[in-house]
Each structure stands twice: as C-alpha cells, then as structure tokens.
C-alpha cells in the first residue's frame, strides 16, 4: 500500500491507500473516482485520463506511442496527461499527486 492524493472532477482533494502491483486506473476505479475505463486497461479508449502533478511526471515513466496517439486526440491533453491504465502503481510512487481529467 502507498499513498495517492487525488483531485476529483469536482475539484475536491482526497487521499487513498493504493495497492501496489496493479495499475493506477484499477486503484482509482476501486475507489470510485469517476473513470469509465471502458476498455479495461487495454490502452484503447482514453476513458481513464488523469493529470500527473508536475513533480511526479518523470517518475511515472514514459508514454508509449499508442498512448500518445490517444491522448493527442483529446481537447484537454496537457503535459502531465497519462492514461492511468498505463501507469503501474509502484512503491516508488508513494505520495503521488494526480487530478482526474474531465470527461470528453
């Protein structure tokens, strides 16, 4: 377990104990943050979009080409944009701060 600090779509901040070894998306879904994650984590749908806060971007790894292609089509892509199903949640991410992106 490690901490994740999340700002939801209504701008409210909260904290969860995330499970290590599963994806960030699965952690958010199990804690009822409004993420559809329709494709179930296959990097196919972009309905699991989050923004990683600036100081954590480097530690969450690189986006794949496919993830980039999906994100680039969204109006609301930003520098910290990630598809949360593509971010494995690891012990090193203890304290990770993210914001759930708007639903497009």
């Amino acid at each position: 377990m490690a901490k994740i600090i999340i700002t939801n779509r209504d701008g409210e901040k909260s904290e969860i104990k995330g499970e290590i070894g599963i994806s960030l998306m699965e952690n958010l879904r199990d804690n009822d943050y409004e993420l559809e994650a329709i494709c179930g984590g296959q990097c196919s749908c972009a309905t699991c979009h989050v923004y990683i806060s600036d100081n954590w971007i480097a530690r969450t790894g690189e986006r794949s080409d496919e993830e980039n292609e999906l994100l680039e089509e969204l109006e609301c892509m930003k520098e910290g944009s990630r598809l949360s199903c593509q971010v494995p949640f690891t012990a090193e991410l203890d304290g990770l701060e993210i914001t759930v992106a708007e639903d497009e």
Binding site: I22, E26, R29, D30, D32, E34, E36, I38, C39, G40, Q42, C43, S44, A46, E66, E69, L70, E72, E73, L74
Partner: protein, 403 residues
C-alpha cells in the same frame, strides 16, 4: 425509511450501476442478485487475455471483491431470480426466498444461442459467455490440439487467434460468405481472413454445421456438404439471446429485448433496465436498437442509475466496440449497414488503416485497425452526423479531427 434498490444481474451493467448509485450519494440499500459464482467482471478478456493466460481472474473483476462490503452493497452471487411481481414490488428467488424493492434495475444481459445439433451432449463442445466457459476451454487448449470454431464472428476469431498462437491446429467454420459479416465491410473481412490464414488458421466459409460425432468426447464436426472436421475441442460462437423472459413474464414490454425509453425506464415506472438486454432508442442514430458492448453497458447503466435517483439524462451515445486478434486492434465506431459506401483510409498492407462508411454523403461509421488516432478522431465527427467528402476521408494526411 431508507429506500431499497435491487439490481438483477451482477454483470457489467449491474456492477456499473451499483458504483454510480454510491458515487452519486445514494445511501439506501442496494441488493445485487447474480446467478454466477463471481463478483461482476469484464467479459472481453474471456476470449482474449484470460483465455491466453496473459491475465489472471482477479484482474478481470470490475471492482475488487471487498468493494461490495465496503460500499454496503449486498451482493448475492449464485442467486437466480425466478420471477418479478411488479404489483407487489417483489422478486422470487430460485431458493424460495423473496426480496422486495422500491426500484428495480434489470441487467440480465444475454445468453449464448445454442445450436442444439445432434451430438451436442459430447464432451469438449463449448460456448463462451462466462468465466466458467473460459476455464473449461483452457483445460483442452494445448499445443497441437485440433480446435474447430463454429462461427466466424469476433468471439470465434478471437478464440482462433489465441489458439493459433498457442500452436493449436485451428479451423473456423462460418455459415455466411465471409467472417465478421454482420459487423464489418468485405474489405475488412478479407483482411482478417488473410491474417488468420497466414497464422495457419483454416477458414471455411459458406458451410453449415449439422452434427457432432464422437464417443464420450467429441471427435468430429460434420457439415452440410458431408465434410468431417477432426476436433479435440469445439468452440461455438453464433450469437446471443437477450435474457428478458422474467421481464416478459412480469408483463413488461419486450420486443427484441426489454423495451426501455431514453432514460432506461421500462413500461413500469419503478423498473429500469440497462446493458445487453435492452431495446433502447438512440436519438443520434434515429432509431431503436439492441447492442452487445461494454460501452453500452457502462453508459446505459449510468443513465439508469441516475434516473433511479431522479436525475433524468438522455442516453444518446455513438456506439463503439473493439476486438483484439493477434497484434491487431480493431475498433468500431458507429453502426454500418451493408449498403453504405466504403472508403479505405490508409494501406491495409501496413496493418494500420481505417475503413470509413458513408451513407447519403454522411460519415456514419468507421473500423480502425491499429489506428487509435482515427478511432479517437472519428467519434465526434460521427456523432455530429456531418457530410464529408469521401476523397477527404481517404486522405491519410488530413487528420479526422481537422475535417
């Protein structure tokens, strides 16, 4: 007093609805009744990653098993609902007990259509709808096993792809003249036919299966032309039937699915329905339809849950769907018709291309193959229902987003 919302069917739509109800602050009782042994799970991996062994069962659950207790959702698995009494707002369960509701959500999904051919009782013949089916198929799926797939729809072809990769000897028997006939254009069928053939899969089209032969275990699949195909296991995927018998018996309107309005409400004001089981209107498409997809299950479940809470929002989404075979990611947006004009966008030989469907000048649907950019770019365009020059659609240098 607290209200009680009951959900019949613990599948994708049922699970999503429970989650939305709690997310939207519903504090009453939620009882979810499902006849399977598992917590709600995602079915797509059943013919993909779960079958191939790439992912474990725990990873296909929609929510972790402890979520239900945490959210005070009374999930009862292995629980079959026999009848609905809408006048007394109560349900009779197969175990003889009853459950009463203030509002009811029917999310009973579909079941596989069975062929019921001579020999169907033999061991080794499977349909694929539930985790239990995938586990049973897996036991027989060994390298060199002779696998016969009946039905060249997306589920059959996904199983063919997994089996071929595992080193099985795979034959697909399709009754129509091409694979995935119902969902994609001939160009896309031909592309997938070639991909499977290069992977060693034998595809026979225009063949009707008439019987199975064997002694205890299945050994052969027999077709109308008299051919006999050797088989260690058979997987049949020939469509589904909506589970609306209990709704119909209760006096709800049923017509190719349980009929709901744009707010997912049935003909009874306290009964809602969502997912594969519904026949629903879609203003963007200008007609009623029944869909079998996760997108529909999720989006319609949200509409239904909101309506149960008194927030009416119209369900109108452009349908989308996907199928993974080998390294190919097929995504489908919109609903194409056989008479649509077809525009190829990109080069199929590159294994990354799209096929656009145009009806009366209007861009109505797309199939994207390994082309998530077009998948994303097409959604708003198709929803807008715009007329677009086919020559422009064919131009890969113009992103769909800019059209």
């Amino acid at each position: 007093m607290d209200q009680t919302f009951v959900i019949v069917g613990a599948g994708h739509a049922g699970g999503q609805a429970a989650s939305t109800l709690r997310m939207k602050g519903f504090e009453g009782k939620i009882i979810m009744l499902g006849d399977e042994a598992y917590v709600p799970y995602e079915r797509p991996p059943l013919s993909k990653g779960l079958l191939s062994g790439d992912i474990d069962i725990e990873r296909v659950y929609l929510r972790k098993p402890d979520w239900y207790a945490k959210k005070n959702v009374d999930l009862r698995v292995n629980t079959l609902v026999d009848t609905i009494d809408k006048d007394n707002k109560s349900l009779a369960l197969a175990d003889g007990s009853t459950v009463t509701y203030d509002k009811l959500l029917i999310a009973t999904g579909t079941r596989v259509r069975k062929l019921n051919l001579p020999g169907e009782e033999l061991e080794g013949i499977f349909y694929l709808r539930a985790i239990a089916d995938t586990l049973a198929i897996q036991k027989r799926l060994k390298p060199d096993a002779k696998v016969v797939i009946v039905g060249g729809g997306y589920i059959g072809l996904e199983v063919a792809a997994v089996s071929a990769k595992m080193g099985c000897d795979v034959t697909v028997l399709e009754g129509l003249d091409r694979v995935m006939n119902r969902v994609v254009a001939a160009e896309v069928s031909a592309f997938y036919h070639d991909v499977h053939t290069s992977a060693g899969v034998k595809i026979m089209t225009g063949v009707g299966v008439t019987a199975y032969e064997g002694d205890g275990d299945v050994t052969h699949v027999v077709t109308a032309d008299g051919a006999r195909y050797e088989a260690d296991l058979v997987v049949v995927g020939v469509g589904v039937i909506p589970n609306c018998e209990i709704a119909e018996a209760a006096g709800l309107t049923v017509d190719n699915g349980l009929v709901v309005d744009k707010f997912a409400q049935t003909s009874d004001p306290d009964i809602y329905a969502a997912g594969d089981v519904t026949n629903h209107p879609n203003a963007l498409l200008g007609r009623r339809l029944r869909l079998e997809s996760v997108q529909n299950a999720v989006d319609q479940a949200k509409t239904a849950a909101n309506a149960m809470l008194g927030t009416l929002g119209e369900y109108a989404e452009i349908p989308w769907f996907w199928s993974d075979q080998y390294d190919l990611k097929l995504q489908i947006v919109g609903l194409s018709e056989p008479d649509d004009d077809v525009v190829i966008r990109g080069d199929p030989a590159s294994r990354k291309f799209s096929v656009c469907y145009v009806r009366d000048g209007q861009f109505v649907a797309i199939n994207t193959i390994n082309n998530v950019k077009d998948f994303m770019g097409s959604k708003k365009l198709i929803a807008a229902g715009r007329k677009i020059d086919p020559a422009l659609l064919a131009d890969v240098d113009t992103p769909l987003k800019e059209m």
